[in-house]
Symmetry: C2
Subunit: 316 residues, 2 copies
């Protein structure tokens, strides 16, 4: 069985022909040119779909697409997606069907990262798990009995806006002291920059003090790997915050497998080990059994594979 | 259809004969005498069951029982229930069947309060809702599509141990800054006493300064109703904390109906209105639609009706 997965972002459209057993047959990426308007974006997606199909003479069952924003319960319509200017309430599924003749289902991209892990990644091992995506923002998806848990309106799993400190800083959302305000890439980088500024003797200072904007979590990872105590400490503090948020997820959901993905997760064990230690310290004892944080190695491919998986589930 | 509900606590055994449409046909309450050992407790429960059946010449489909502690996924066995000394891993369902001839299913009492609300209370109006029980501790149950959501091991909905401030106080559990550490009856009373001590001119001081141990949330409610600003302020601060916890539940679960029950909930609108205002302030905008906090008027009967409802669901 073959389907087409699309990962629609504000910058790039990623598309893939995916076999339900073998995974990727081919992937492609083109700029979104979101500023040229939604019709243009739909046309570009349709073109990518046609190219993939023709090149492989494939017979896909349909198109699954991930995108940011609120997706309707029937998985056809998206509402006010961020990073896609001019989009309001758009029936994306219909637009793609009109242009390609393939049935289309859409879903929030964080949920699809979870589904991709469930079908093709570390999540395969578990019936239920919580996917935490650590990127520009912090998001997530909840898989219960192999299915995306969507909640009443399809918005469940806003894991980045779970409060760990009501006195805490604001992030992009209304929520104060949500985990995204500590671990979103911009927030983590800013915290790191502030900390490094106070330690001008540290090699991270000499490397970045002229341009802290270039500091990314992966730089902290490299510093930590080189034994830089300040880098280790910054990631440890961030990891502890993640641990508190995970305690909240687990106490509510009683799901003990936490799969972590996204750019910030590249900080690896320096982030995830303190997260695990903190969670184990503050979880009630029965919840510690079987508790585990797992690093998803699929990276950004998870959402694209999840998009194709959604087509397998919904359009077969 | 008739069943028997049991609410087993450390102090009292409550039992009821329940009609699935009419609700209570008869209720009874006897002391648990937990100190006399588990065999004695099982015997007393069996006696209560037999008395109810004989008095009404009833033909119940079985017994549903709520009790504190971890209940196995097959709903027969409880593990280390608090307040029941000497209990380890006990197959309660078998013990009751042996003594009464009636099939028995058991469940955590907080989950059953939710199920009771779903069948007989405010929860009837909703497919999915979150029940928050504010009593000695803070607990809860999650109803998804009219069923208890149990999680991987049956422990989902530990809503009292959701962190709202990782710098915060410890409660009985390991969790720091969980909502129970602010709203558990003992913690709320202590916070109130500390606040009142700093305001010796307030009438709450003259009423309680000789014995702050007697101060209960309902006293704060009465003071607030009488226009006592200090009482209003204490409940407002507590309500705000509850609001932060509710933000966490809603962002994870995307369930916007919050049904509140238990002794502390008697503080009523003085507690729940600030909770609702705080939640609405910090929820992401789409989650505010349809959001509502509802006061469950069933009170302690919710768990007992939920126990009977469990029998209707599982033993019919």
């Amino acid at each position: 069985m073959i389907s087409i997965g699309i990962d629609l972002g504000g910058t790039n459209i990623k598309a893939a022909l995916v076999d339900h057993k073998k995974g990727f047959l081919q992937t492609t990426s083109i700029p979104t040119h979101a500023d040229l308007g939604k019709e243009h974006v739909f046309d570009r997606i349709a073109l990518a779909v046609k190219d993939l199909v023709e090149e492989h003479n494939a017979d896909p069952i349909g198109v699954g697409m991930g995108l940011p924003g609120m997706v309707s319960l029937d998985r056809k319509t998206v509402k006010n997606p961020p990073n896609l200017p001019g989009w309001k309430v758009e029936n994306v599924a219909d637009e793609i069907f009109k242009r390609t003749g393939y049935k289309c289902v859409i879903e929030n991209d964080a949920n699809l990262a979870a589904l991709g892990s469930a079908h093709f990644g570390k999540g395969k091992a578990f019936n239920s798990f919580i996917m935490v995506t650590l990127g520009t923002g912090v998001g997530g998806g909840i898989i219960i009995d192999k299915k995306i848990y969507r909640g009443t309106t399809g918005m469940a799993g806003e894991l980045g806006h779970v409060i760990i400190n009501y006195h805490g800083p604001l992030s992009n959302s209304n929520t104060r002291g949500g985990i995204e305000a500590y671990l979103g890439q911009r927030f983590l980088s800013r915290f790191a920059a502030d900390t490094i500024r106070q330690n001008p003797e540290n090699s991270l200072y000499s490397k970045f003090h002229k341009n802290f904007d270039k500091l990314e979590p992966v730089d902290l990872y490299h510093a930590a790997e080189d034994g830089n105590e300040l880098g280790i400490d910054i990631l440890r503090q961030a990891g502890e915050k993640l641990g508190y948020a995970i305690v909240n997820y687990v106490h509510i959901l009683d799901i003990r497998k936490i799969v972590v993905s996204g750019g910030v997760a590249k900080a690896g064990r320096w982030l995830l080990q303190p997260a695990e230690e903190t969670a184990l310290k503050y979880l009630m004892p029965p919840f510690r059994e079987e508790f585990e944080i797992i690093d998803e190695s699929l990276g950004n491919d998870a959402a694209l594979l999840g998009a194709a998986s959604l087509a397998f589930e919904e359009l077969r």
